[in-house]
Symmetry: C2
Subunit: 323 residues, 2 copies
């Protein structure tokens, strides 16, 4: 039997690192995880990670040929193979991730941020297989975006294209503080954290009875608000509507920049389905210039599984081989 080609996808998060061996069709044949934050230096972390990956590879029964490593990491820079000044990770400054990795392997190592990895994943395995121009918006703790233009991931001049999470929703008139040091960034409204902040402000303005008045800010999370909204809680539904509306007009703006065929929503908040898609679609169409209206598809990511980040990271390897 011919050897199967596999790629390793690695998702580096602030707390945990998850990885998997993935085939060209997006099947994960082996996987593993380790903590990210136990290593003072990136070199030690990578050495431990590489060893763990190799051990996991030995468990795979079928013969395979490894084609490379794809890494999704906060502030990952695809031009340079680095992580730069990531607030989420334990190592400060510019970390030459790809170089450190190459001390262990001669195979290709491609580094990018989670949202770019999700965009390539959508193109290689997901709903954008036949698309040349599309956008993926990742809605997690923050908001990321990856743009594919004419069949290729858009890097920009310095490898940092697609940071729309830090564009303002209302310049100069928002008090909502962002982790980046500015106020009123899109991700302070449209993300799991943003939904919660909006919900708690709605709760404070309203006089309506709510079980949530018993919980602290820290105790409330997006999933609780989602469950309440599903049961018909009006304040929770209003929080989703407001979040979707802000997302909708930012999507109109995104379309005016790059004129995509589709926009995919990826991650936790996107799983709230109609609660977020309905207002987002409505206000997106309302704010769109007429030449774009009723043309651009707003779709859930087809990678929306627990392994989505690993899939996205692994897809970088196939994309690198096939381009």
């Amino acid at each position: 039997m011919a050897k199967k080609n596999l790629a390793v996808g690695i998702d580096i998060g602030g707390t945990n690192t998850v990885f998997g061996f993935v085939d060209r069709e997006g099947n994960i044949v082996a996987e593993g995880r380790m903590t990210t934050c136990n290593y003072e230096k990136a070199e030690g972390y990578i050495a431990a990670l590489y060893e763990k990956i190799m051990l996991t590879g030995k468990e795979i029964k079928q013969g395979f040929e490894l084609k490379g490593f794809g890494i999704g990491a906060p502030m990952g820079n695809i031009n340079k193979g680095t992580i730069e000044y990531s607030a989420a990770l334990p190592w400060k400054g510019v970390i030459p991730l790809s170089d450190i990795f190459h001390a262990h392997t001669k195979l290709p190592v491609i580094v990018t941020n989670d949202a770019n990895a999700a965009a390539v994943g959508e193109m290689i395995y997901g709903g954008a297989k036949k698309m040349k121009d599309f956008v993926v918006i990742t809605l997690g703790t923050g908001l990321g975006s990856g743009f594919v233009v004419d069949g290729k991931l858009m890097y920009g001049h310095d490898g940092f294209a697609g940071e729309i999470g830090h564009t303002p929703v209302r310049p100069e008139s928002s008090d909502r503080e962002c982790g980046c040091g500015k106020k009123g960034c899109l991700e302070t409204y449209v993300s799991a954290t943003g939904l919660k902040r909006t919900f708690i402000k709605i709760l404070a303005d309203s006089r309506q009875p709510s079980e949530f008045r018993k919980y602290s800010f820290d105790a409330i999370n997006a999933e609780m608000i989602f469950n309440a909204a599903k049961k018909g809680d009006k304040l929770a539904i209003r929080a989703f509507e407001k979040t979707g509306k802000i997302l909708g007009y930012k999507l109109a703006e995104v379309i005016s920049h790059t004129s995509p065929e589709a926009i995919f929503l990826f991650g936790g908040l996107a799983m709230a389905k109609d609660l977020i898609f309905k207002p987002a679609k409505k206000y997106m169409e309302e704010y769109l210039l007429s030449i774009y209206q009723n043309k651009v598809k707003l779709l859930p990511s087809k990678l929306n599984t627990k392994n989505a980040a690993v899939l996205g990271a692994s897809s970088l390897v196939w994309s690198n081989i096939e381009s």
Copy 2:
């Protein structure tokens, strides 16, 4: 002597059409013009235009080989070679400009909007010769934008990428009506017309004496405001500052989408130099996410001459040949 290669650049405006025979270095060797609005049908207009171009070509002394026609037109669609629903032109609906032109010639005919033509012109003849990722913003009666991504003009899925003139400055809180039917679009603030509207509102709020109180809305234009600002008129300077500020934070947003090496300002308002560049640069940097700060050049277009639009249109031919 070898024949010189020439391209015809055509700039179609609502009132006049201007064209020129241009060499690869951006020298215009012959030019001409005709009215746009005398022709009820696009077919008749194109027939007359083609004849006029051929007559002008006969005046060129040196032997040359014509390589194609580049056309810049409002709502020109590069994917389809059409003009679509342009409010500025006399022909309604979708006009298959390239097809109509091909009744007269077998040479390539490339159609796009003025801003995309300006972007390609900057790359072929101007300040972006060695750049692969940059943006051109055209500031005329309206505001257009052309994006070059990885060395190629970004069209988007339907050929309409780069309509940032119709993204909102402040969603839901602007009363300023736009020609597109929406309110508060960027071009209602940042354009020759936008500057004038802002200036007249500043005049209405202020109690400061001003010669402009003698002039009607219709009698005031951007050039008068520019001349007043140069002489130190505080209200005129304030209008430029406000316009530059709004431009500045929109530029920050543009950078967060595509991460360009440089942004070029093109057209009348850009010729106001520091009056517009200083506030635009200041607020652009202020609103930028730190990873982009002090990296992106804000530059005047090197095509800023009276023939810029013809140059831009002609460059489409070279770009088509060389890509």
